[in-house]
Structure formats: C-alpha cells, structure tokens
C-alpha cells in the first residue's frame, strides 16, 4: 500500500462529516480542539469589550456612562467570562488539540465525551450571553459572596444565571479533565515512558488533576447557594444556622487552585517553546515536573489568603502567609530553569519568543506584588483596592495571555499548514505590551492612593482622574493590539502561503504529522525512544506515513489506536473508537434542559430532563462492545494486543476512577461544610436532631456493603463459569435496599428550610440516594448486557466499571449514614 492510498483509506475511516454538518457530529479531537479555541476566543472578545466598558466608565470622574447597576454587571461578567469561559476552555482546547499529536497517538481516550464537554460549554456559555444581552446578568462580583447574592438581597434571576450557567460549563471542565488524565496516562505512542513524555503533557496532567480536585468545592457551593435561592435551604443565612463564610471557604478552595490551573498550562507552553527557540533541550526536566507537582499541592493550602480580612486568628494567618510565600519557590525554580535553558542554548528572537519575553517581564512583577500581598499587614491595607485588581491582571495576563499568544504563533503553522506573511504580529505585540503596562501600572498606583475596586465612579478631588485616564487610554491601545492579533491570525488562516513541515525544527511529535494534520494524525504510530522523538530522526515522518509504525495497516473500517502501560510505555491493549455521532450534542442539549428548567423554575420538566439524560447515557454505553470474543489483534511490528473491552482495566475503568476522584472531592467538601457549620456557624446546635435509628443505620450500611461484595461475586462468577447474573441480581437488590433506606431517611429529616443542619442532612441524603440509583441503573444495564450476550469471561470490562461504583456507594453510604445518625446518638 502506498502512502497516498493509506492516507485515503484512513481519511475515509476517520473523517468527520463534510461541511457544517460535521460540527455537530464530529468526535475528532482536532475538530473539537479548534472549536474549543475559537469559542474561547469569542468569549475573550466579549470579556474584552466588557473591560473596555469598565475603563470607559472610569476614565473620568463622575462619568455618566453607566450607572451602578450596569457597572456591577460589567465587572462581574468581565471576571466570570475571562475565568470560566476563556481561560479554562482555552487550556482545554489547546490540550485537546495538541496532546494526541504530541503523544503520538490518534485521538483522546473518550472522543464522544470531548464532544459532550464542548457542547456543555457552548450551551452554558450561551446562557450567560443571553443574560448579558437582556441586561439581567449576574451583578454580585465574580466571587458571588452571599448574603449579597442570597435570595433576600438579590431576588432577581441574575445570580441564578451565574450559578446554573457556570455549573453547566464546569461539566465540560470535569469531562475534559477526566479525559486528559486517562489520555496522558494511557494513550501514548509505544515506548514513551513517563520520563519521555513531552513536558506539556506533564503540565496538562497536573492541571487536569487540579481541575478534578479544585472544581468540586465550587460546584458544591453553587448547588448549595442555588438550593438556598430556589427552595430556602439556609446554608448561608446566619439566623438559621448557616454561615456566609462557608461560601468564602468553598469558593477560595476552588479559587486559589484556579490561579494555578490557569498558570500551569501556560507554563507548559513556555517550557515547550523556549528550548525550541534556544535550539537546545529543556534544563532540569525532572525539576520542572517536580515543581509543577509541588505548585499543585501548595496551591490547595492557600485558599485562606483570600480571606485575610475576615477575622481569622493571627496564628492561622501566619501559617497561610508562610504558605503563600512558599508557593513562590517552585515558581522561582521554573522561571530560573527557563532562563537557564536560554543560557544553555542559542536563543533566537522570533515572534513567539517576543511574547515569552512579555511573559517574563509581566509575570515577575505580578509575582513580586503577589509576595507583597502575601505579607499580612500589607494585605490589610491593599485588600479590595485597585492594587489587587492590578496584581491579579499582572499574574493572569502575564502568566496566561502572553504565553498563550506565544503558543498561538508557535503552533499556527501546524494548524494551518501556512507561513506567516505580513509582519503584523510584531506591531501587535508592541501595542499589547505597552498598553498592558500602561493600564495596570497606573492601577497599582491609584490602588495605593486608596481607590477601591468595583466603585463605579469617583470624585475629582481625589486626584485619581489623570491616572485613571492614562489607564483607560492604555487599555484601548492594548485592545487595538489584541484586535491586530485577531486580524493577523485570520489572514494567516485563510490567505497566507503554504509552508513546509516543522518550521521551528522542533523535536516533539506533533510536527511529525502533516500540516494541517489529517483526522487520524499518524498513518502509523511511532515507537518512541527519546524525549525529543522527532529531533534526531527527520526521516520519522516519512516512515510513519509509509505505515512502518504500529497500526499502519487499516484493513477494517475501525478507528484503531492502542494504549500503553502507564509507567513503561509498553503497548498493552488495542482500542476501537466510536465513529461520528450526534449523541453528544443531543445529550448536552437535554442536560441543558435540566439546567434551564431550574433556572426558569419549570420544575415539572426537571425529572423529565434527568430521565432523558439517563436514557441517553444508556444508549451511549450500549452502542459499544461486541457479542463475540475478538481475541488477540495484530497491531503491527510483530505486536499482538487484546481489545480494551476484553480486559479488567479498560479506558472506561480509568475514566471512572478519575471521575470518582472528582466526585469524592465533592462529597468531602460536603462533609467539610457540615463540620464547618457545626463548629463555626452561629445558631448551633439546632433545635432538634434527626431521631437516630440503629435499624436504619444497620440496614443501610449492610446493604451498601453487600452490593459491593455481590459485585465481586458477579465478577468471579463471570470469570470462572460465565455466570455473572446471580451476583448482579444480588447486588441490584442490595443497592435498591440502600436506596430505600435513604429515601426513608430523607422523609424523616426535619424541615430543611428551618435550619442549616436539616438542609445539610437533606443534601447528604439526596447525594447518597442519587448514587444508589446510579449504581442500580448500572447494575440493571449490566444484567441486560449479560443477558444479550455482550459479556463473556473475556469481555468483562463493564463489570469492573460497575464494581467501582458499587464500592464508591458502599463508602459514601456508610459515611453519610454515620454523619446523619451519630449526632442524634451523642445528643
């Protein structure tokens, strides 16, 4: 087979539907990565326009341009859009687009999940846009402190748009994070052991793990606040046993890691580009990986530093102040490793390098003002002034936007297959750089002069007028620069001349694909022997196109790739991907219906939408699998592999593990909230506890444990005698008993709108009930699959996935029951 025939054959298998119809049914990571990035930059424009409105209002004293209400919507939406609808999706889009190419494989672990995540993001973002257009956008500040955002002080629908829209968008972040974890750990080219991974993959892995543990507290906070707003469950009302400080803890438990969730991918871009621009390899690869991991851990110990002024004891402040400054150490290690890399090689000043220079200058200043703010007495003065706003823009623009612009110019030739023609980018950089520093240096200054953030205007006597005018004019210069980048990229994408492969002479595998990359990425998968796989081996691209790697022989119409052992990178299983489908967009739409029904209080629709999601999920998983054992498959180069469905730890198993990590964080945050309210909130203990019942505790706990054990029985029965059904039926019964116990518990909880204690119990019980029902649904599904012949002693992957969920149910059911009954026994 010639390279051209192989290309045609693979394209027929892997291509999305032609034209715009392909947008709705594509599950290809290159398509979806591009869609993520384009959508994210659309939101960047919207957020940028809002920033322009803010600066226009503040340019002169007593401006009559916007009133306080409109101004509150501007700054709330500016922050919200930039954080949730631009920064995080940009990371997701970049990682989704690049990682399979960098890792030398053909797609991500769960192609349909990529699409589902994208559509959740698009629909959730649209909700917020609708709110903005109709002037009913959230207006409580992007961190939404109750009671200001509670039902009493913000009765309108504005806040609901935030809570519901952002939770919807976060589904996409969780989906992407699960998928990236599994993809990076399992979906790599054979031979690519962990220590040979491109550095960007390490950063993406750490970021994805941080999303899985950082986002659940915020999702929990949003759920609780929405429950308070819609049904009066008083989690944040001090007179009913709630505490508004709980929101601040949950929000910043998310909010501080968020800063590093934004910075780490950008650091991954920098670590990728700098060695290429300096014609060398990265200095201290292992050190950089270690400091990224250290940064991730430290960032979770920092949330309190956003709450220095809430009246936390000085000893606590000392601890968090020390931790806040400590986080600068791994950052320092990375910055100096990058400079050391430049010294090691022979750096050249191309356009991406200019933006990296912009990063260094801006980010170091942002880091230094950050260290200042971490010093508690300084923060007591600077907190909530324009100084903080300026500081965070130095960190986020310096630490994210400049590196991303560098990344855009670096990877643009790969995406488009073209060469940059006009020199617009250099002018744009100069405008952005000067405009940015003009805007925010001035803002530091007025902040120190006492200008608070979020005031809609100020008096002329304050003397802030001239500085604000400088800031506003500079911000418009920056906006012009960013608009020029947009024009430059559009010109590049549509009219520039065609360029050759690998213009930067980079060593990572994405450049060994064609430019623009075909839907299947690689005609055959490489065997990787070094970290810069493509560097010392320029003939690699041609050999892969000729089919000399793995899976180079497309005989059937299957989308094939392979997975590897996590540590060593030895190939272990072959994977068959699902093809193009509209199921993800449909499922996202029905998910959207669920959120919409809560937003506009059409509660009869809510259970219907949930049932719809469950039904579609069953269709989703039913479509995979086979009714006969396929046996070992030829993967090329003399390697034979089993199909992933015929193993214990399939990709779906790994996906469930990471999803459960996020889920457990959610549950842990709920228990934290319970303990926090109990110990800190005024108005405790509540008037009456839930009447404790040894019977309920015993039956519920025993049933949940039984379902986990019965599932193991089913797996053994399937393996030895091909008879999984008795165990499955036993597990299903036990799960239903668990569900009934929690339904009874819920019926006995004191009125949840009377006290935060009862409200917390209500949520805890509902959470456990929901998981019992999910496990029940999965067991019913497994029974149906077994009866229809989709399982065998070899095709056992689905049982192991269900087993994870019954195990999880056993843990959370026991903990929930103890948390519900113990206080009553003790009282």
């Amino acid at each position: 087979m010639t390279a051209l025939r192989r290309h045609r054959k693979l394209s027929a298998i892997w291509s999305s539907e032609p034209g715009f119809r392909g947008w709705f049914s594509s599950v290809n990571h290159s398509d979806l990565g591009r869609m993520f990035l384009v959508t994210a930059f659309f939101f960047f424009l919207v957020g940028g326009v809002l920033a322009m409105l803010i600066r226009a209002q503040l340019a002169t004293p007593h401006s009559a341009f916007a009133d306080a209400g409109a101004f509150a919507q501007f700054f709330t939406m500016h922050g919200t859009i930039m954080m949730f609808l631009f920064a995080i999706p940009t990371f997701e889009g970049l990682a989704i687009y690049l990682l399979p190419k960098m890792l030398g494989t053909r797609d991500l672990a769960f192609p349909r999940l990529t699409a589902y995540g994208y559509w959740c993001y698009a629909f959730g973002g649209s909700m917020l846009l609708v709110a903005l257009v109709f002037g009913i956008a959230p207006d409580g500040g992007w961190f939404m402190y109750p009671p200001l955002t509670g039902p009493l002080h913000s009765p309108g629908i504005n806040t609901d748009f935030w809570l519901i829209g952002i939770t919807f968008v976060e589904i996409s972040a969780i989906c992407a994070a699960v998928e990236l974890c599994v993809s990076i750990l399992k979906y790599r080219a054979p031979g690519m052991s962990l220590d040979k991974m491109p550095i960007f993959a390490w950063y993406a892995l750490v970021t994805a793990l941080m999303i899985l543990t950082g986002f659940p507290p915020l999702i929990l906070g949003s759920v609780l606040l929405e429950l308070e707003r819609a049904f009066g469950l008083p989690f944040f009302q001090a007179d009913l046993g709630g505490d508004s400080l709980l929101w601040q803890h949950l929000f910043w438990l998310f909010g501080h890691p968020e800063v590093y969730i934004i910075f780490l991918p950008a650091a991954g871009v920098i670590s990728t580009i700098i060695p290429v621009m300096a014609r060398t390899t990265l200095l201290g690869y292992g050190w950089i990986v270690a400091s990224a991991v250290a940064l991730a851990f430290l960032s979770f110990g920092l949330w309190v530093h956003h709450m220095f002024t809430t009246g936390i004891p000085l000893m606590g402040l000392a601890f968090f102040s020390a931790a806040s400054t400590l986080v600068a150490v791994p950052t320092g290690v990375q910055v100096f490793a990058w400079i050391g890399t430049l010294w090691k090689g022979r750096p050249e000043m191309h356009l991406p390098m200019l933006h990296i220079f912009g990063f260094f200058f801006t980010f170091v200043i942002g880091g230094l003002t950050g260290v200042m703010v971490a010093v508690v007495p300084f923060d007591w003065q600077a907190h909530d002034t324009a100084f903080i706003t300026a500081h965070l823009h130095y960190v986020l623009f310096g630490g994210f936007v400049f590196p991303i612009l560098a990344g855009i110019y670096y990877w643009l030739p790969l995406v488009s297959g073209r060469k940059r023609f006009f020199r617009l980018g250099e002018v744009a950089f100069a405008l952005i750089f000067l405009g940015f520093h003009g805007t925010f240096l001035a803002m530091h200054w007025v902040g120190l002069m006492g200008q608070r953030r979020r005031i809609e205007t100020y008096d002329a006597e304050t003397g802030w007028g001239a500085i604000n005018l400088i800031s506003s004019i500079s911000s418009f210069i920056m906006a012009i620069g960013l608009a020029m980048v947009l024009i430059d990229v559009l010109i590049h994408a549509f009219v520039a001349v065609r360029g050759g492969r690998n213009p930067w002479k980079a060593g990572t595998l994405e450049w060994a694909s064609m430019s623009p990359p075909p839907a299947y990425n690689f005609a055959s998968l490489p065997h990787v022997t070094s970290r810069d796989a493509f560097h010392g081996d320029p003939g690699l691209a041609n050999r892969l196109a000729k089919g000399e790697g793995y899976l180079g022989d497309p005989q059937s119409a299957r989308r094939e790739t392979l997975t590897v052992d996590i540590a060593t990178g030895d190939p272990d299983f072959m994977v068959i991907y699902p093809g193009n489908t509209r199921l993800p967009i449909l499922m996202a739409a029905v998910t959207g219906l669920f959120f919409l029904s809560i937003l506009i209080k059409l509660y009869w629709l809510t259970p219907l939408a949930l049932a719809g999601v469950a039904a579609l999920a069953l269709v989703w998983v039913w479509r995979l699998g086979a009714r006969t054992d396929a046996g070992p498959q030829d993967a090329g180069r003399g390697v034979t592999l089993a199909l992933a469905g015929e193993t214990e730890k399939s990709p779906g198993w790994w996906g469930s593990v990471f999803l459960l990590v996020a889920n457990a964080t959610f549950f842990g945050s709920l228990l934290f909230g319970y303990a926090f309210l109990w110990t800190v909130a005024p108005g405790w203990p509540p008037q009456d506890w839930l009447a404790p019942s040894l019977v309920e505790l015993g039956i519920g706990g025993a049933a949940a444990l039984t379902s986990a054990l019965a599932m193991r029985l089913a797996i053994r029965g399937n393996r030895h005698r091909a008879r999984p059904l008795p165990g499955l039926a036993f597990a299903l019964t036990a799960t239903l008993v668990t569900a009934v116990t929690f339904a009874m518990l819920l019926s006995r909880v004191p009125p949840p709108d009377g006290h935060a204690y009862a409200a917390t119990l209500f949520v805890l019980g509902s959470y456990a009930l929901c998981h019992a029902l999910i496990a029940g649904l999965m067991l019913a599904f497994a029974i149906a699959r077994a009866r229809r012949g989709y399982t065998s002693p070899a095709r056992q992957a689905e049982f192991h996935i269900v087993s994870l969920w019954t195990d999880y149910l056993a843990v959370i059911a026991t903990l929930s029951l103890l948390a519900a009954h113990l206080p009553g026994f003790l009282a």
Partner: protein, 197 residues
Amino acid sequence: MLAGAAAILALVLGLLLAAFRRRGTASDEAAGVKVWIIGLGFVFSMSVLAALTVYGLFAGQRLMPGAGAGVEAGVGTRVGADVVSVSAEARQWSWRFAYDDRPDHITDDVLHIPAGRPVDVAITTTDVVHSFWVPRLAGKLDAIPGHVNTLRIEADTPGTYQGLTAEYNGPGYRAHVFTVEAHDAQSWDAFVAGDRQ
C-alpha cells in the same frame, strides 16, 4: 519592599537579556541545574521569602497592640485599662456606632473615638458582608453576618479621618463611607458625659 522587588525584577530581566547577548559555548546540563535550579531557584528565592515572612509577622504584631492578639474573631481581645470599646454595625448602606462608655448613645456614619488611646471596634453586620476600613488608622476587617470581629485602631492626633467600606456590597457601595472623629481627652470626656453630640 519596593526597592527589593525592583532589584529582583532587574536581576531576572538582566539574566534574560544576557542570554541573548551571550555567544559562548553551550554549558552542560548538570552545571546548569546546579547554578540555575539549586542556586537561583531554591537558595535565592527561599532566603528572600524567609526574610520577608519573618518581617511580615513582626510588622503584623507591632501593628497590633496587646501582644499581638489584635485581630481575633469574637471576644478574647486583651482589654487593658486604657482601651476604649465601641461597636460598629454595618447595613446597606450605612454604619451605626455604639459606645460601651455611653450605653444609651448611637451615632450613624460618624464614629467618635479618643485620640491617643487604643480603641477596640467590634464589627458586625445586619445584612450582607461589609468591611470596616479607616486607611490612616488600621487595616481593614470584614463585617460578617452572625460573627463579631474585633479590630484595634488608634489615632495619634485628634482630627477627622475618612472611613470606607471595602467589600463590594451592592449598588450603594461607592457612597458607603463614614468618618471617624478623634477627640482630645477633654472633648472625649464631654462626649462620654453626653454634653455634645
């Protein structure tokens, strides 16, 4: 702090630019790790940060009279004989002040204190989160529903000081300000006795 920050910025940028000027032989990996990562990354940043943290803690204690027990949630602030206690209650969008030394008296948007004596302000709120901030007298402290936070302030000289709310609290946020009147000993006694407003 500013000079130190500027020096570090200059160091980093200097090293960055020098990398482009340098046209020597490429240094090897092990030596690079030693100089850049161990030397500059660890030792340099650790020592700067350690110094700064220690400085910050001492400065924090000095700002807080009463042996560093200044900011504590609820009660427990050490009360010397000299300390005056007042309370501040925030609402959208005004401040209401009450005085332990004159229990029947309440003032809106004006806080009276004696100059030259430490004052403990017990801060709370009747509705949303606010923050009590008199920039020239002390840092800020939040007013949180259901909690009382105590802040120590002290005015060295009599006069009028501007106070602000420093946590966004709705459309009236900008105009949510108050003044602090610091009295000399004589006029404070008169205020406590109720002779004047």
